[in-house]
Point group: C2
Chain length 339, copies 2
């Protein structure tokens, strides 16, 4: 089947005008669609970015970066920010590559369409005026024929009655006949002109204009297809980056080492003190016996041990630290020997 608008749709000016107008409406609608899509991406990116920012560590507690789980979370937030950047880039591409270009293209297309339909209307006006010319010369010919016929009648009738009047009427009839002949020539000229115009109109002008409209329509559709491909392509380009971000998040999650973290806690908090040894006996009865056997050997030995041994903190602080809990308590008695 032929699909040439110029030959197939020669009588569908109004419908083509409507159809191409609908096409441009769609183009504008599609542009708006992509714009709204870009806005959604932008708002999504904004939310993701502020989520990442909100949870970003403020380093106000322990030096958190020494713990693998903490570092992993920071890395996740970093990747999340990367995702936001990707979405922003996508939105920018949609706006720049598609929305802007389609908006500009739509303006061009509107201008082109207007010009084609103006050409159509001009051709229409030309054939109309050619038609009017034909009509008017045809009517003149019709009128002149009638008048010539009437004059001939009169002449024929008078001719039988009166020679002088008959001559005059015959002259009038001859003049009318000549005028009719002139009108006939005019009419034939107008008719030939109209038929020539009409042929050119339907076989050259209209086909050319409609062919241009069809080309324009095909370019519009081609352009829609391109925009749709660009849209899908722009989103596709994001995928590998998103995939890398997710890989990095996964790696971060897998880099978490609970054992290493609890070892870090030891490094941070270990006091270096040993747990207290046995409390020694304090022999208050010693003074009683000292009179019998004076000996400072054991006392001296205790003193030596106390100095060589790493002190545990609550001796210095005069506080008891069982299990690391601070408990207000009487100072430990000075250590003595078990008697």
């Amino acid at each position: 089947m032929s699909c040439n608008w110029g030959t197939e749709l020669w009588d569908q000016f109004d419908n083509l005008e409507k159809h191409t107008s609908w096409g441009i409406d769609f183009l504008e609608r599609y542009t708006k669609f992509v714009k709204e899509r870009a806005d959604i991406e932008l708002s999504y990116a904004k939310q993701i970015r502020s989520l990442s920012k909100k949870y970003h560590p403020k380093r106000n507690r322990e030096d958190e970066s020494r713990y693998t789980w903490f570092v992993a979370f920071a890395a996740t937030l970093q990747q999340l920010n990367e995702l936001a950047i990707q979405r922003e880039d996508l939105a920018e591409n949609l706006n720049g590559q598609i929305v802007c270009e389609l908006t500009r293209y739509t303006q061009e297309l509107k201008a082109e369409r207007k010009s084609h339909f103006q050409d159509g209307r001009r051709a229409q006006q030309h054939i109309e005026s050619s038609w009017k010319q034909l009509e008017s010369s045809k009517r003149r010919f019709e009128r002149d024929c009638k008048e010539a016929e009437r004059a001939q009648h009169v002449s024929n009738k008078i001719d039988l009655d009166n020679k002088t009047d008959g001559e005059k009427a015959r002259q009038t009839a001859q003049q009318k006949q000549q005028a009719a002949e002139e009108s006939r020539k005019d009419y034939v000229t107008s008719l030939n002109q109209f038929n020539q115009d009409q042929h050119q109109h339907y076989h050259t002008l209209v086909p050319v204009i409609y062919q241009r409209i069809q080309d324009m329509e095909e370019r519009r559709i081609e352009r829609i297809g391109e925009a749709m491909r660009s849209l899908a392509e722009a989103e596709r380009k994001v995928l590998p980056v998103v995939s890398r971000c997710l890989d990095a998040m996964m790696e971060a999650a897998e880099s978490i080492q609970p054992r290493k973290d609890t070892r870090q806690v030891v490094e941070v908090y270990k006091s270096g003190f040993d747990p207290p040894g046995d409390v020694e006996f304090e022999d208050y009865s010693a003074t009683m016996r000292r009179s019998i056997s004076e000996s400072s050997y054991l006392d001296n030995r205790t003193e030596e041990r106390r100095q060589s041994r790493k002190l545990w903190p609550f001796i210095r602080k005069t506080k008891l630290l069982f299990l690391g809990m601070r408990v207000e308590c009487a100072p430990l008695p000075s250590q003595g020997k078990l008697g």
Copy 2:
């Protein structure tokens, strides 16, 4: 380096309490983070879905589904809706698999942590009361020794002056000596008990409790890691589906055939009429000549041609349709023959 909290951090009860509390804070913070992430996905999905719905065709104009560009756009919207569904599923997975589970786990963890630190406090109370027992028996021994010593002094002094009083004082001194001996035994018992308690405290109870706290902390970190992996995994699962949606969008865009669409326009609008042929000559002078040569052959032939020929529309409608434009106009004259 050893990383055993039970032996390395025996004196860091307060710090471990703070550190594990911070760990639980983080868990809650992370849960909140995932919740907010899911909310963002849900809001994004909602926007995408309503965009798809908003632009979905309402079939109010021509039967649009006959055009490839229109079908392609509908397919794009369909895929967009599919993307929204994927995002909703993602949000649901984040809420269900991560947020709910972590919330439940955090409650369990809080209960477990509380129980470990209660055990710690109980052990602390026990060693404190053992210490108090030791202190009190030591003081009693100290007092009794002093009293015995004083009684011995008195007895020694009196012994030299008065035999009767001396005997009484000696008996008192002996009783005091015995009481001191009793206190000494008590003190030794308390001391042994305390040293035994203290040894058990620092070498069994504390190590066991702190080891449990460390295990708990390592499980918490492990769990954080799992949650982070789940988060990345849940997002990763979406990628192939998104990729398929984008492939489908690309296919839709590539299925656009401008030539096919303009051929469709021909099918929709073609009237089937041929463009008008030449307008024929109407010979108003014929009646004048008919008297000379009467012949209806050409008129009849014209009539035949008019009936066999497919009429073009403006003849029937008494309207002129040049280029398909409706123009109010005089009816075409009945066709005659060129004379």
